[in-house]
Amino acid sequence: MTAYIVRRLFATLPVMAVVALFVFFLLRFAPGDPAAIIAGDDATAESIAAVRVKLGLDRPVVEQFGVWLWDLMRGDMGVSIFSNLPVTRLIAQRVEPTLALSLSTLLVAVALAIPIGVVAAWKARKLVDRVVMGFAVLGFAMPVFVLAYVLIYFFAVQWQLLPVQGYRPIGEGFWPFVECLILPSVALGVTYMALIARITRASMLEVLQQDYIRTANAKGLATDRVLLLHALKNAAVPIVTVIGIGIALLISGVVITETVFNIPGLGRLTVDAVLKRDYPIVQGLILVFAAAKVLVNLIIDISYAFLDPRIRY
């Protein structure tokens, strides 16, 4: 087991290396003159040159890469072009709201989608199933920000049940914290939920056809016991896989959701950086988000061993 974890850990290195190479060479090989674009439309020759020096673009590429990689290894992702603050610190300051939003979305999506998927599979081809699958299809088509505004319109503007936007750290009390996260989590979670529910249903349907399920039913076990203990446990691997795949969806959605709800997290940082064309921040964020995704996939790979003892490494 330990050997397997170590091996998987090493397997993440080439992936992260490709991500790092990509963000490094994107700046060097982007069409046009990135330094001029970063400096802005009314830039003078001096300010463009200043940006070039700041990004290290005035040195030979090999040297640039060496310095950049060495800094990155030590956790130094450069400084913001506009504020001159270290990118690492800017990112660290914004992690909390994003983490809170992502975790609450994950919780909402998984807690709702799995039971929905199980019921849909149990009542396959009945009305409940068709309604659930219909919603899943709609969920895939619904853009995060459109759904977010629909939710805000009804729950915050019309019925005034929840705040329109904003974020409160958990230190200011549990309910204000939760209150601000409900609408963003639902808006962000719907597509994710549709994905998980659909796979749960498909995976359950396959397991429910097995002989041992018929045996369990025949010997008079309660339906809930059969569904949860006998079927769901064996249907778990594809469900966990898709929860991992969905993390990418979640991260892309975070950027948009934070903008709609004015949550001061990494997503807002991304958008502000893009509008100011602050490439060092964008680069740092890509590395952080990619690392997060790789980490989640690693955890999921490892969890297979616990979910399905038949998987041996």
Partner: protein, 294 residues
């Protein structure tokens, strides 16, 4: 794969009886429904100048933030621009981006996928790069490229193609790997068929059905990413009436003029829904193996 090849052949064979649109719709309600919706939207995009009731760019401050009425079907925005006309023109951007991203990433993904599935050495390198690209959330990857270039429709398309290519490569590669193991490929190699001919004649046709299905999903995802990018201010230039831009510009006045966001948003959702339905229908029809898994 053999099953889908025969069903394809059935479809292409001349119908024994007269073609009936009604029967076709009854047999494939999802394809028909998605297809008809999509055709309507394409019609709207192509004939936008005839359908629009106002100039989508004309600013008339006197008429700002009017609710939907007989004169402004979908109301007006904070500059007095007609939301209906802007929404009609917005279909152009979504469809152009969706279709071009689907086309470019399919071509690129097909070429790379064939190469990866067939040549071991190419596979080792290209798949590592694809794994890396897939680790970057697509909207962020697009954002990174856009930060470094001047805004424009072309760059938005390129920025969405890059994260979508790996999805196609994976599908094509998986098919090629399974086809390669078939005895008929072995016998073709033994018979001295050259690589290129083998790829084009024996391998390529098998990849088409899954490729078509996957490219419809890529099309839907591209439309969502484009709207998301425009919404964030990192998409097509703000003066272009795209659905993402209309929604982004409606944000400030959302509470008093919700129509500026909800109506283009509904159009976007319906368009993506239509493409997805078409994809689901095609998947059930062309790729029964994948259909069973979902």
């Amino acid at each position: 794969m053999a099953a889908s090849a025969t069903s394809l052949a059935d479809d292409l064979a001349p119908p024994s009886r007269r073609f009936s649109l009604l029967t076709a719709i009854r047999r494939n309600p999802t394809i028909a429904f998605g297809g008809i919706l999509l055709l309507l939207l394409v019609f709207m995009a192509v004939f936008a100048p005839l359908i629009a009731t106002h100039d989508p760019l004309r600013i008339t401050p006197v008429n700002r933030l009017r609710p939907p009425s007989e004169r402004w079907w979908f109301g007006t925005d904070q500059f007095g621009r007609d939301v209906f006309s802007r929404t009609v023109y917005g279909a152009r951007v979504s469809l152009i981006v969706g279709l071009s991203v689907a086309a470019f990433s399919s071509l690129l993904g097909l070429a790379l996928g064939l190469a990866c599935g067939y040549f071991r050495r190419v596979d080792a390198v290209v798949m590592r790069v694809m794994d890396g690209l897939m680790a970057i959330p697509s909207i962020l990857l697009a954002i990174a490229l856009i930060t470094l270039t001047r805004p424009g429709l072309g760059i938005v398309i390129v920025a969405i193609v890059i994260p979508e290519v790996p999805r196609i490569v994976r599908v094509v590669r998986a098919v090629v790997l399974s086809i390669r193991a078939q005895p008929y490929i072995e016998s073709a190699i033994a018979g001295g068929t050259r690589n290129l001919k083998l790829l084009l004649r024996h391998v390529l046709p098998n990849t088409l059905a899954p490729l078509i299905v996957q490219s419809t999903y890529v099309c839907a995802s591209a439309m969502l990413i484009e709207a998301g990018l425009s919404f964030l201010g990192a998409g097509v230039p703000p003066e272009v009436p795209s659905w993402g831009n209309i929604i982004a510009q409606g944000r400030t006045f959302f509470q008093i003029a919700p129509w500026t966001i909800l109506i283009p948003g509904a159009f976007l959702a319906v368009t993506v829904l239509a493409v997805n339905l078409l994809g689901d229908g095609l998947r059930d029809r062309l790729d029964p193996r994948l259909a069973r898994r979902l």
